[in-house]
Amino acid sequence: MIDQDTISPSNLRQALAARARPNVAVVAGGTDILVRLHDRVDRPWPKLLVLDGIKALGKITLHDDFVSIGPLITFSEIEISPIIKKYAPQLAQAATVAGSVQIRNRATIGGNIANASPAGDLIPPLYVLGVTLELSSARAKRLVSIEKFFVGPGKTILKSNELITAIRIPKIKSIGFFLRLGTRQALAISKVSVAAALRLKNGRISDAKIALGAVAPTVIRAGFAEEFLRGNRLDIALIHRAAETAASEARPIDDIRSIAAYRKEMVAVLMKRGLMKILESM
């Protein structure tokens, strides 16, 4: 079904063939791209590749070592998925607090990744979960670590003939959190966000991953804070040191949503808030 402005393929093969054509923009849920098109004055629009009809991209499947999430899975579907709750609680938390009911019912995980906002709420959880993206073109398929995918705000290594066809979450059980701050709870884009995944062994932190959102051109890992945590017992002194370290790793800017100094300070606040909750639950 092809007409002047939209292409609505019914399977992945057709979609990848259409993706290889020039001046094609991909529409998953549409909650970001329709806003951009609404604001645009330089019409004509690109040809819109509508993925809605491709059932294979809207499934969550269990494999031996990983959970595979289809790029068309919506925030609402992530919120209620028992599989995601089990293997990726941080991701479920992020999907629950982002947007509004209306947005969560349409916005997709693939769209949130491809849009590549440094403030994209699902991205910090994907960093700490060690996610691998499956990128497909009509000719080939490649696997890329989520951290290698982003180049800058709105910029990724996705080629113009590729689609994100799966999000692979390793089946590693960890405890963690996702916390964010925005002007209001609903709908506001995050001013700052923090995700964490910790693994504990005999009361010590055997592994720690921390990711910070909206404080750099892409989501970043807080490597020094992770070092501080690794191998140690979680206590209040450690939490404070790790929180301050994470704040020092943030490289935020002043923009319409917030100022750099506030963002940096709030990284420490969110770190403390999240880690204290883990400590209290131990």
Partner: protein, 157 residues
């Protein structure tokens, strides 16, 4: 393109330009002007409709994306006896001032009460967080949703 979908309980088929938004199809082509456009960016919820029973912003969906699916607009909700008490409750509590947000508020309320017959105030706030009102404030609207749930419960007895 040829588009077929279910709208307020009826199957319809029509020819549309591919890149048209759902809200433009509803308002301009089908004269269903109960659905309002506020911001056009998914922030205000005035354009809320139900897509397969779930509230979505009709300004952020292409008409092409509803092919084969079911859309219910405020006109469909207003004509549905199951939801009559929602309209009564909004009237009774004075939860309407200029009325521009009301269609979206009522559609979101219908989706909430369909899922949860006795929502708490917190649940109501969360369900309506995507609908903005710039005149009455939210107290009366939240009250209206609570009242609607009571009236619907009474009806069932």
């Amino acid at each position: 393109m040829k588009l077929r979908f279910r709208l307020n309980g009826k199957f319809i088929a029509l020819e549309i330009p591919g890149a048209e938004r759902l809200i433009d199809l509803l308002r301009e082509r089908l004269d269903l002007v109960g659905t309002k456009e506020g911001c056009g960016k998914g922030e205000c919820g005035a354009c809320t409709v139900l897509l397969d029973g779930k509230p979505v912003c009709s300004c952020l969906i292409l008409a092409a994306q509803v092919a084969g699916r079911e859309i219910v607009t405020i006109e469909g909700v207003a004509a549905d006896k199951r939801y009559a008490q929602i309209l009564n409750a909004f009237e009774e509590t004075g939860a309407v001032q200029c009325g521009y947000c009301s269609p979206g508020m009522i559609v979101s309320t219908a989706a909430l009460l369909e899922k949860d017959r006795h929502p708490s105030n917190e649940e109501i706030k969360r369900a309506l967080a995507g609908n903005l009102c710039r005149c009455t404030g939210y107290s009366k609207i939240i009250e209206a949703v609570s009242r609607a749930s009571e009236l619907m419960a009474q009806d069932q007895k």
